[in-house]
């Protein structure tokens, strides 16, 4: 069967290491296979690694599957994995994920060991980013005289145009921005996979209404993402199915304490947290396709605290403002992107009108993401929107990037436009970073969430839900997941 699918964008490159982005990972799961991958319960399934065990505090050993063939016909061995790992360490985008690792040892042809610098709890999370590449295929020179294995951003490298992985599909045609065609790989190792799609045609359709229209008109079988406003329509429509899942990307506002004196006052921050009716936003703007958040990590993450609920209470907010001496309010500026997150502009607008109710007057400016990020880096407004998805699918990652005291050397607090800084929190997160006992670690991270909540360090809004639309015959329910990497290799399409 052929699956025609429309996504909002196509992968930037066929090189899985060029950019860490959803598009690249989606492509990687089709063309390559990782050592391990997430399953629906947020734990790991072995893929190219059959099994793994901890050797010591700092070492994890992986046993590779035997007889796995690359698209080129070469067999996959430990050498390929090692080659891939070393290449990852040079990738600007992936470097950060593998920072805790000191290296990879090849034990024998089918066994490798990942070694960390200190005890590290998230080895498997990182292993899910290792998609072994065909080292033989990628060695030598291409016809331009460049190394085939060259990894370079925004450059015309061999790897960005040619791929040889072990995944279920091979790329047979690619017109960037227009169309991409994948064919089922005959020699795919996973004979148990029920997948029966012979060919996938991917068309990027940027405009959401057009994408939805294409599905409704039957021009495509599978689309993602589906904007909240169209959910009802897809559900109602006879030929189509809508699959939604609560996601892991959290949307928040940060309050810049360096720019606004009042934000240094915890009560003002709390007042704002109480004034923002994020459940209202979820209900009205997100049409229920989001989960209102009271903390950073969603349910299922290590740091998740059941009790930290959204806390909309206008009276309390006003009282807090009065207590802090800001009964008459003040004026602040706010910035948000208008094409980055689902309904970002509308959310910002709604939040500004909510703040107006506690006499905080907001000058809102929204702009395309291309212009937004430089502004964000400059910390140009008093309140800025930021959404975050933890690459490691782990609670600590949120705090490290969003709320830790800014530290150039470690890169912590890189996205902390609020300049919130609480050394105690940093210390806890750091400790959790080398705590391998899951229970202890969870307790630490929960404490972090609790502190941030009490401090109103930021304003949590919601976790974006994920939504996919597909025609009834495609059983996408089985293959989609919160990471938004549909495992299309396993997709079953009814004829």
């Amino acid at each position: 069967a052929t699956l025609k699918m429309a996504l909002d964008a196509d992968p930037v490159s066929l090189d899985p290491h060029e950019q860490l982005s959803g598009g690249t990972l989606q492509m990687s799961h089709l063309v390559f296979d990782p050592l391990v991958r997430w399953n629906k319960d947020l734990s790991f399934d072995g893929r190219l690694a059959e099994k793994w065990e901890r050797v010591d505090e700092n070492t994890m050993r992986f046993h590779l599957r035997k007889g796995v063939k690359f698209h080129s016909g070469n067999e996959m061995t430990a050498a390929d994995v090692k080659w891939t790992f070393d290449r990852l360490l040079t990738s600007p985008d992936f470097k950060a994920v593998f920072e805790p690792f000191s290296g990879m040892n090849v034990v024998d042809e089918y066994t490798i060991e990942l070694v960390t610098k200190r005890p590290y709890p998230l080895v498997l999370n990182a292993a899910s980013y290792i998609f072994p590449m065909d080292s033989k295929h990628y060695s030598g020179m291409d016809d331009k005289g460049q190394e085939k294995g060259l990894l370079k951003k925004h450059a015309d490298t061999y790897a960005s145009r040619n791929a040889s992985g072990t995944g279920p599909y091979t790329v047979i045609e690619r017109q960037q921005g227009v169309k991409m065609v994948y064919d089922r790989f005959d020699g795919y190792w996973d004979a148990n996979s029920p997948g029966n799609v012979d060919q996938i045609v991917l068309t990027p359709i940027k405009e959401a209404p057009t994408r939805v229209a294409a599905l409704l008109a039957g021009d495509v079988d599978f689309i993602a993402p589906v904007p909240p406003t169209d959910h009802k329509r897809l559900e109602k429509s006879e030929g189509t199915d809508l699959v939604t899942m609560s996601g892991t990307r959290v949307i928040t506002f940060q309050l810049n304490q360096n720019r606004v004196e009042a934000f240094k006052d915890k009560r003002v921050r709390q007042a704002i947290a109480y004034a923002v009716n994020n459940e209202g936003i979820v209900k009205k703007i997100m049409k229920g396709f989001a989960t209102a958040a009271g903390q950073q990590g969603p349910k299922g993450y290590a740091g998740y605290v059941e009790d930290l609920k959204p806390r909309y209470d206008l009276k309390k907010a006003k009282a807090l403002m009065a207590e802090a001496g800001y009964e008459d309010g003040f004026t602040i500026t706010m910035m948000a992107p208008n094409n980055r997150y689902v309904n970002d502009e509308k959310i910002a607008q709604a939040v500004s009108s909510m703040l107006a109710k506690i006499n905080i007057k907001v000058d809102l400016k929204t702009m395309p993401k291309a212009q937004y990020w430089p502004e964000f880096d400059k910390r140009s407004a008093d309140m800025m929107m930021i959404g975050w998805h933890a690459d490691t699918e782990d609670s600590a990652n949120f705090t490290e990037y969003l709320l830790a005291c800014a530290d150039e050397a470690t890169g912590w607090g890189q996205y902390n436009s609020g300049n919130y800084c609480n050394p105690a929190v940093d210390k806890l997160v750091k400790a959790a970073g080398s705590e391998t006992d899951p229970a202890k670690r969870a307790a630490m991270l929960q404490e972090v969430e609790q502190t941030l909540y009490d401090d109103a360090a930021y304003i949590p809004l919601h976790w974006q839900n994920l939504a996919w639309g597909a025609s009834k015959k495609a059983g996408i329910e089985e293959v989609v997941n919160v990471m938004d990497f549909p495992y299309l290799g396993d997709l079953v399409v009814k004829e």
Binding site: P92, A214, Q414
Partner: protein
């Protein structure tokens, strides 16, 4: 051309930071800075512009960050799609506006004329994106007659040019985008043809043609229409150029893999070389179209042909 390149080059700083679109979220600032250096984005404006011009003179407008190919090649690859779209729309405009305008001019009081003019005013009043989405809704979703996006099956014509005009599927895909693109200009052309035709019909030579005892058809379609076409062509040239610019909206809505769509994407991705290249190409198209129009004008109008070089 030079002016266009300077203007477009100088605005690039304000479009945003191209790096952000190239890297993942967790890449550190220092790393980004290093990449920026590598791209030469941190050089002073004049250095960058100087470098650009030196290369541009050799026909190299730089590499697209996103496509990793020479920007000009990328644009050229998308040019056929846009040209086919514009061509289709132009064809539609010609096929509809001339008969409609002529009819409205010769039968000023008929009901159909009122309908035509009413429709054309409505056409001016409705924004393109409304027309486009409405078309999709009606023809693809409700009626299911026409595909909603893309170009469909293509057949290579000369070498690199892939045409959608030669397959049924390709033609079907062309219908909606062409209609919505045409809808911008069609009303204007109908009114232009009508008013010029009215003008032509009131001339002395048309009266003389009647006095000569010629048949109506010949008077309308030879004597009057030929003269009507002169201003229509002049205006038409400018408008077709403008239409190339309007494709941005249409292509975005219909996911038409053409230049306009590419351009909007490039703006979103801050793919500056591509933006600059696009502007230059569009400028060139403009110049070419205007020159062509002058040529055609000369062919139709003997006065101009003989006076030669005068412009």
């Amino acid at each position: 051309m030079f002016v266009i390149s300077l203007i477009s080059f100088s605005i690039q700083d304000n479009l945003g930071d191209p790096l952000r679109e190239m890297v993942g979220q967790s890449v550190s600032e220092a790393e980004r800075e290093r990449l920026r250096d590598e791209l030469g984005l941190n050089d002073p404006f004049l250095t960058q512009y100087g470098r650009f011009i030196t290369k541009a003179v050799q026909g190299d407008l730089g590499q697209s960050y996103f496509f990793k190919e020479p920007a000009l090649d990328v644009i050229m690859a998308k040019l056929p799609a846009t040209l086919e779209l514009v061509f289709g729309a132009t064809l539609l405009i010609i096929v509809i506006s001339i008969p409609a305008g002529v009819y409205a001019a010769i039968r000023p009081n008929s009901v159909l004329t009122k309908v035509i003019l009413g429709f054309s005013i409505l056409g001016i009043s409705v924004p393109v994106f409304l027309t486009a989405i409405f078309c999709i809704y009606l023809f693809s979703i409700e009626l299911g007659w026409l595909p909603s996006y893309g170009r469909g099956d293509l057949v290579p014509v000369f070498g690199a040019w892939e045409s959608g005009y030669l397959t049924k599927d390709g033609l079907l895909h062309l219908v909606l985008p062409c209609i919505s693109l045409a809808s911008i200009m069609l009303p204007l052309f109908i009114r232009l043809v009508r008013s010029e035709m009215v003008e032509a019909l009131s001339t002395e030579y048309v009266r003389f043609a009647k006095a000569k005892g010629l048949k109506k058809v010949r008077i309308y379609f030879l004597h009057a229409l030929k003269n009507t076409m002169l201003p229509v062509i002049t205006v038409g040239g400018v408008q077709i150029g403008t239409m190339v610019a309007y494709t941005i909206l249409t292509e975005t809505v219909f996911q038409w893999p053409g230049m306009g769509f590419l351009f909007l994407e490039a703006v979103n991705r801050v793919d500056t070389p591509l933006i600059v290249a696009y502007l230059i190409v569009v400028g060139a198209i403009f110049v070419i179209v205007n020159t062509l129009v002058d040529l055609i004008y000369g062919l139709i109008n003997p006065t101009v042909r003989l006076a030669g070089g005068e412009k």
